[in-house]
Amino acid sequence: MLQEYVERSYRPDLKPSVASNLIKDNTAIVGIGATEFSRDSGRDELDMACEAIKAAVDDAGLTMDDIDGLETFTLERTSMPTLVGSLGIPNLRFSNQISFGGGASCANVMHAAAAVATGVADYVVCYRSLNEASGHRYGRGDGYVGYLSEAPTLHYGYFFPFGLLTPLSWAGMYGMRWMHEFGVEPEHIGWYPVVLRENAQRNPKAIFHDKPMTHQDYMECQMIVEPLRMFDCCVDTDGAAAVVVTTAERAKDLKQPPAHILAAAQSSPPEQEIQTSYNRPIITGLPETWYMAQELFRVAGVSPADIDVAQLYDPFSLGGLVQLEELGFCERGEGAAFCEGGDRIRPDGELPLNTSGGLLSEAYIHGYNLIIEAVRQIRGTSTSQVENAELSLVTGGPGVPTSGLILRR
């Protein structure tokens, strides 16, 4: 089990050849749109979905009549027929949902790209809308009191009775072991959230814009679930975001410079669970991210060193650090050291990370704000623009079946 991962030897023999991959270079993200990000939208998720989708369609220079595909999460609460009936999409030919929470973000784009590459649809909108801050709070345990008497799934029955109910604590279980095995100290971890907060200061849309944080602030902030503290956690957000995917051929005639999809990948390795894969040989890594990265770089035909800028899905800062290891930007156990001092991951560093502030400091739109930022880097319109960004990498949620994209100019 997971022998390939343990030995770092990927065997792509099961996968179709790169030559038969119709997504590569033939598809592109041509429109991006989002609502305001806030802590209390005061609006329905359906309202926000419509606004974000309309913004993305306008951005692409298309009309709603052009749209014939919809992609989103199974967690999405807006109903597809009701959304179609609100947007007035006349002939929707393709719709799809993907489970695994934030692991689905880049997979949405991947599946949309497969649809346009095969003529199943012409223009697919991928979207996500959530009132995570003011509405139902997935990340809190107290929401279960008085509404459930037993664990909501069979699987959670092995965790919930012991008080282990939240993603933060599930991730903490990996984190404690990772810190133990590699001798990582809290002060090493702090640089990652600090740099992301710096990026948010330049992004007026970020929730933590105008709320700077120093490394000392990080060290002094409240411990929530040891080993994770307040500033290790993503920011619960109300908002919606959407992107439009079409073929590279059609993209030529549209309003914006296309962000071509060089590679897209999804992965769920053996013994995968939703952030509780505790029965794998080692729990200090993220095998799903490693497998995804192997496939992503295989299809793209580039190596980690070629990546100019990356948006890592970071529900918790440790998730970002361990992804650096699994994506091949550094060795196992060296993610925190890679970020120490922050210079390497700042916008002028060797691997600029989460240039909009990421999920920790911009917003938590389930990874969609990261995809939008990856596109902005290709267009040259980020508030923390990386000079001459040619290859822009973005990942989906770690610890669950995940996904990733490499975009190119």
């Binding site: 069979l154 008080g163 279980m173 679930v225 040891e226 029965n279």
Partner: protein, 141 residues
């Protein structure tokens, strides 16, 4: 760890596949699912052995109940804690001698005394008439 009176613990969700496990716990026994053909333990339990694809070689065997702490988290504030448990409380990941890992709680130890690698053995905690949980306590190495 201490419970807050009046707030029920979320009980396990049980079906035909995992019922033998929870029935055993109610009888103060810890059992694990094992494929007798492959000699492999499976946690969580499943209806088919992923190694040999057999549905009738799976059986429930007694666990040693002994292992060590593989990892843990410590709930230090109410923010993310389940309100039935008084903070601070710790949740541990135990690696049993059989190689299988289970989430659980420790008894007779303060959260800040918990360490990765600590040898432990299983105990059973009758929480209420219809809920028994397996927990662990420190043992001599």
């Amino acid at each position: 760890m201490e419970y807050v009176p009046g707030i029920p613990i979320l009980k396990p969700s049980i079906d035909a596949d995992n019922k033998p496990f929870w029935d055993a716990v109610a009888n103060h026994e810890l059992v694990l699912q094992k494929c007798r053909a492959c000699d492999v333990y499976h946690q969580p339990p499943r209806p088919m052995c992923p190694e040999c694809k057999s549905m009738d070689t799976l059986e429930w065997v007694q666990s040693s109940g002994r292992g060590q702490i593989y990892s843990y988290v410590n709930f230090t504030t109410d923010r993310m804690a389940y309100p039935a448990m008084k903070v601070p409380y710790a949740v541990v990941l135990i690696e049993l001698d059989e190689g299988v890992r289970l989430v659980s709680n420790m008894i007779d130890i303060e959260p800040d005394e918990i360490e990765i690698g600590m040898p432990v053995e299983v105990v059973f905690d009758d929480i209420s008439e219809d809920l028994t949980l397996y927990k662990f306590k420190k043992r001599a190495a």
